[in-house]
């Protein structure tokens, strides 16, 4: 077993997902089977091989540091589930 039930719970917490007991059991089973398959990669000698994170050789894409119009406030808030006076409302963070 690569991943225990308590590790599944820990990862779920990191991923900000509330899982019920059934989901934890299911994901433990499935993730173990998928991770076992990933062991295939251990066959490959990767000593000294640079990782690829991007396939085209682009460096930073920069533009001139000039003022440009951006999305207006009404548009930016149009999809917010709760808003008030031009701000997004969330549960209290500070007591």
């Amino acid at each position: 077993m690569k991943i225990t039930a308590s590790e599944v719970e820990h990862v779920a917490r990191l991923a900000r997902l509330n899982l019920d007991a059934q989901e934890i059991a299911r994901f433990q089973r499935e993730l173990n089977s998928i991770l076992d398959y990933m062991d295939l990669l251990n066959e490959v000698d990767t000593v000294g091989v640079e990782p690829t994170v991007h396939t085209q050789s682009i460096s930073n894409a920069l533009r001139q540091d000039e003022l440009q119009p951006s999305q207006d406030l009404r548009d930016a808030l149009a999809n917010a589930p709760r808003q008030k006076d031009g701000s997004i409302v969330v549960p209290k963070v500070l007591e």
Partner: protein, 473 residues
């Protein structure tokens, strides 16, 4: 597409009429290909197209009804990603590709079904229910762009856009008997495409013919400063008359014809290979030794990127918010638990795990290194050949309820399509035959980066001498 464009010009058919007929069909279509349609907007743009045609507008796309996968933003039209978490999301801007199509006069007819967040190969996990394959309603259309593929196959649009992270354009194209291109990474702007795995995602055209796909690709390709991975360079226009294949070297890697490939698929792809030989292409044996590791590499990298990209769905700025949360953390936990389905959660979990402390080197770094070896395999092989040929999928379309509880088996279906995403190269799926039960089979062609034009024009030449793409469900 070409046929409709001709009818507009020579027969005096109005795009308004065509769009009206199509909307009526979409309202009662049995495939669940569409998540939504935009009757008002489509008719308005069709009327504009009618005027443009009266003034002898030359752009071929004028008035052509194009369907767009529902993970591509459309201003004022819901863009749901087939997920409860974005069920009410209405973008305030258009994706770059939508702007391009609109600027050329195309009519955006509606938004097509997909696996939730484009994560899947069946279009079953959509919050709107599965899309059905027009060739056999009990079969999957493939995925994740299954709605776009079914809409094209069933004649519910002239052409469509999909997105392809590990095969999501090509696989459904193959299962539905149409043509689909996964363009070179960086050649089509991802601005407005809801991110799944940013180093792999590309938007691609889906159409009946390679000719139509080329017209769509030429319309959407090119540099966009709003996508920092968009490549600024000269892009070749596709030769729409096809190309002379004499002397073109086609590499056929044995690894694409090994165990796991259904015999009817192999037979059809070998037939396609023979057609290319008869057209003058030279077949060369090539070796891609790291292909067998592609699926493992892909499902580490794509889930890692997905876990990061999907962190934004927290119920705060847009999308669904769970009610009754007692504090901010609870709001995140409950919103995400209620908003995502099982496959999306599974991938977020796997991605979070492979990036977490203690496992990063073992999984994510290792996968990124093997990715380098796959990139190098292709670079070496493209010294000996111009195009690589193989199957798109290991089998034809399977039953809608098959394999639902076996995620790894579903992942393995992507074995032939994943390498092109990992290497950032273009890949095209074109129909090359039918299987034992009469379902369509696709053949995959790959080329070096930025030679999408070569693939499409080779596809046009192939379709000039074959009829598989003309057969309708």
């Amino acid at each position: 597409m070409l046929e409709t464009a001709r009818r507009y010009r020579s027969d005096g058919i109005s795009p308004v009429r065509v769009v009206q007929d199509l909307i009526a069909k979409i309202k009662t279509e049995p495939y669940n290909a569409y998540i939504s349609y935009d009757e008002e907007g489509a008719l308005r743009t069709a009327r504009e197209a009618e005027k443009a045609l009266e003034q002898n507008g030359e752009e071929l796309l004028i008035g052509l009804p194009i369907a767009v996968k529902d993970n591509i933003c459309t201003k004022g039209i819901p863009t749901t990603c087939a997920s409860h978490i974005l069920a009410n999301f209405v973008p305030r801007y258009n994706a770059h590709v939508v702007e391009r199509l609109r600027a050329l006069g195309a009519v955006i007819i509606g938004k097509t079904n997909l696996d939730e967040f484009a994560m899947g190969s069946t279009t079953i996990s959509s919050f709107k229910g599965p899309t059905k394959n027009p060739w056999d309603m009990t079969k999957t259309p493939g995925g994740s762009s299954g709605g776009s593929a079914a809409a094209v196959a069933a004649g519910l649009c002239a052409g469509a856009l999909g997105s392809d992270t590990g095969g999501s354009v090509r696989m459904p194209a193959s299962f539905c008997g149409i043509t689909g291109l996964k363009p070179t990474y960086g050649s089509v702007s991802r601005f407005g495409l809801v991110a799944f795995a940013s180093s792999l995602d590309q938007i691609g055209p889906m159409a009946r013919t390679a000719h139509d796909a080329a017209i769509l690709y030429d319309a959407i390709k090119g540099h966009d400063p709003k996508d920092s991975t968009s490549v600024a360079r000269g892009y070749r226009h596709t030769p729409l008359d096809g190309i002379d294949l004499k002397g073109v070297r086609i590499g056929v890697p044995q690894v694409f014809f090994g165990a796991g490939l259904a015999h009817d698929v192999e037979r059809a792809v070998r037939y396609g290979q023979k057609v290319f030989e008869e057209l003058g292409a030279r077949i060369v044996a090539v070796d891609l030794p790291h292909i067998p590791y592609g699926v493992a590499v892909y499902y580490i990298i794509c889930t890692a990127e997905a876990s990061s990209n999907l962190a934004r769905y927290d119920g705060v700025r847009y999308g669904m918010r769970a009610s009754g949360a007692k504090d901010l953390l609870d709001l995140y936990l409950e919103t995400r638990a209620a908003g995502f389905n099982t496959e999306v959660k599974r991938r977020i979990m796997l991605g979070t795990y492979v990036l977490s402390a203690g496992y990063y080197d073992q999984y994510y770094r290792k996968a990124s290194q093997v990715r380098t070896l796959i990139v190098k395999d292709f670079a070496r092989v493209f010294e000996d050949c111009d195009i690589i040929l193989g199957p798109t999928t290991p089998c034809t379309a399977f039953g809608l309820t098959d394999m639902i509880d076996d995620p790894l088996s579903i992942y393995l279906l992507d074995i032939y399509t994943i390498p092109a995403n990992l290497a950032g190269i273009p890949a095209l799926s074109i129909p090359c035959g039918f299987g034992d039960t009469g379902l369509p089979i696709g053949m995959q062609l790959m080329a070096p980066a930025f030679r999408d034009d070569l693939l499409l024009s080779a596809g046009i030449a192939f379709q000039d001498v074959t009829n598989f793409h003309r057969v309708k469900p």
